[in-house]
Amino acid sequence: MLHSEIVIVGCGNPLFGDDGFGPAVIEEMEKLELPDNVTIQDGGAGAPHFIFNFLDPAVTKKLIVVDIADFNAKPGSISRIAGNDLKPGAYVDPHSWDGVDQLCRIKEKIDTTLVMCQPTKVIDKGDAEVDMELSEAVRNAVPKAIQVILETIGVDYGTTINLQERRQPAETCGKAR
């Protein structure tokens, strides 16, 4: 895979409200000028089997996972957890690999950090409600999470907007969208 020394993965599904926090952070970070040794990826609901599964410790030395978690704090609070504090869960089904299980395997070989946000409403597995909006508290926590991530990867000031790589419709396109 085209991973680098530092990999930042946003996990979650934007169809389930605050669960979209990880992808929202990645979307925002795409606007930043980041060092060449940093890869950022929207892991969606597939990070355990599409990303964590393929990390090569010979290449990737640091992994940062951005997600929501219920840690009994005020909605929008950001918490940074070291991978070594994770406890393994039960292995049930390889097609829905539990992310924590995978991280527990990786943390020995790759320096792993989790940047977690307390959601306004905790989303249970099997929740049927579809809501594409982040709650206000969680939306407001995106910049703070990015600051924590930048600090973790040692980028002092990474908030410069990347004007060169802004995505534009091709010039041949009839109409700008």
């Binding site: 895979m1 085209l2 599904n13 934007p14 169809l15 992808p23 990826q41 929207d42 892991g43 969606g44 609901a45 597939g46 990070a47 089997h49 599409f50 990303i51 599964n53 393929f54 049930v92 089904d93 390889p94 097609h95 829905s96 099997g126 929740d127 049927a128 579809v130 594409m132 995505r167 419709p169 091709a170 041949t172 396109c173 009839g174 109409k175 969208r177």
Partner: protein, 455 residues
């Protein structure tokens, strides 16, 4: 006298589903119901009023396994509705992405079915996670094939999970000549691995097929020669990619499609009267538990010409290449046969791809409300998306997803098999249940009758 046994939840596939089985005194399935118990998402409702650029991104989030197929099918349904033809090089990039995704998916499926199968010449079932040889070498090869698929997808589409290079009207960017060479090199590395993996899996599957008995949780179960047979017919819309034109693809005609209510198809309320604590993992449902597949099923039943049909690798090979092996083993072998085809087709696409060619259509219309459809031959089968776009707003969107087609077909294929092998039959379809769970149900007059479930 018939007994009722339930396996819930089923394992080694994506999503949540269960098997409710009415069996005879010998444990042979008389009626089998395989149904989704993943909650209905209502994504189709969410899409209404959004722009055609937003909806493929929403569609790709219905599942963690199949975002690429949904992204491509939704994008092309929008293009079909607004009548936008994309440049050839954009199509080549999409095709490469789709083949890379299929390659990864076949390799993943190998991991999921290996624990049901035996090391040839032994009584040992295969644990793909063991550190012991010869399985370790096979596991590493599977992992490398997955990695090759994901990397090629990442190069073609900017991201290997939720592709960001695709857009209505084509692709955002073409790839560089260097990126094309990298994809070529990866495909060249992958082809011999895929050939070796295909040969091995076919040998393992043939060995399984030749057995008289298999072990399930310590139970010795007779293996029928007709495991997983059905007579429901096949649906495929393209040998590899997909289509959005009736002229190009006469095998998919929306007028021949209808989706009916699960409560007309599945069994009603019953009580579990057979319990087997030895069944992996954790035994079957407790005796006396009330079950009601009619009310618990979370999908409609799609019909083509009034019957459920099978979609997937075997359907593609049967429709386009004359493949005719029935049953679960035949189905798994068909999937393995697509391994090398992925690479051969990828070489053709890479040869066709001009990295200096344009990848966005010259003109992208706003849409006049015409109903457009696009089928994409996803790893698990025909994924058809329907869309109506007017003035750059989506008025209607629907997803007919592979596993939805296969629920009723697999239910028919369960009949005549020992109940302990029901999951083996189900895994032959490589189910992806989350994707399948969308409820737009029509009655005899094509009126929507299950709106309440999705509002």
């Amino acid at each position: 006298m018939s007994k009722v046994v339930e396996i819930s939840p089923t394992t080694r596939h994506e999503g949540h589903s269960k098997l409710t089985l009415k069996v005879n005194d010998q444990g042979i399935i008389e009626t089998g119901n395989w149904c989704s118990i993943t909650p209905v998402r209502g994504v189709e409702k969410l899409a209404v009023g959004k722009t055609p650029e937003q909806v493929p991104k929403i569609a790709s989030r219905v599942c963690g396994i199949c975002p690429i197929a949904h992204n491509l099918a939704a994008t092309e349904a929008m293009e079909a509705s607004i009548k936008c033809e994309i440049p050839k090089d954009a199509l080549m990039l999409r095709h490469i992405l789709q083949l890379a995704n299929r390659l990864h998916s076949i390799a993943l499926h190998d991991i999921l079915i290996l624990p049901d199968l035996y090391l040839p010449g032994t009584e040992v079932k295969i644990n793909p996670f063991t550190a012991e040889e010869p399985v370790r070498t096979v596991a590493k090869r599977i992992q490398r094939l997955r990695e090759i698929g994901q990397t090629i997808g990442q190069i073609a589409a900017g991201d290997c999970i939720h592709p960001r290079n695709t857009r209505v009207g084509g692709m955002y960017r073409n790839v560089s000549e260097q990126a094309k060479t990298k994809m070529y090199d990866l495909a060249k590395e992958g082809l011999p691995l895929a050939k070796a993996q295909m040969d091995l899996m076919i040998a393992i599957l043939r060995n399984y097929q030749a057995r008289e008995h298999v072990d399930v949780g310590g139970m010795k179960v007779a293996l029928p020669k007709t495991l997983g047979y059905h007579n429901q017919g096949y649906l495929a819309t393209h040998a590899f990619y997909g289509s959005s034109s009736m002229d190009e693809c006469p095998s998919w005609d929306i007028r021949r499609f209808k989706e009916v209510r699960p409560w007309d198809w599945y069994m009603g309320e019953m009580e579990v009267s057979l319990e087997e604590p030895r069944y992996p993992i954790g035994g079957t449902t407790k005796m006396g538990t009330k079950v009601n597949p009619q009310m618990e099923a979370c999908t409609g039943i799609p019909m083509y010409d009034g019957q459920p049909v099978e979609v997937g690798p075997r359907a593609r090979l049967a429709v386009y290449k004359g493949y005719d092996e029935k049953g679960t083993v035949g189905q798994n072998i068909a999937r393995e046969m697509e391994y090398t085809d992925c690479f051969y087709e990828m070489f053709d696409c890479l040869e066709e791809l001009n990295t200096a060619g344009k990848v966005v259509a010259d003109y992208i219309p706003d849409g006049d409300g015409t109903l457009g459809w696009a089928s994409n031959e996803a790893p698990r089968g025909t994924d058809v998306h329907l869309a109506r776009v007017k003035d750059w707003k989506v008025q209607y969107f629907s997803m007919l997803v592979p596993t939805t087609w296969n629920f009723a077909t697999c239910s028919a294929a369960l009949q005549g098999a020992p109940w302990q092998l029901a999951e083996v039959i189900m895994r032959g379809y490589d189910p992806c249940v989350s994707c399948a769970t969308h409820m737009i149900v029509l009655d005899e007059d094509n009126k929507v009758v299950a709106q309440k479930l999705i509002q």
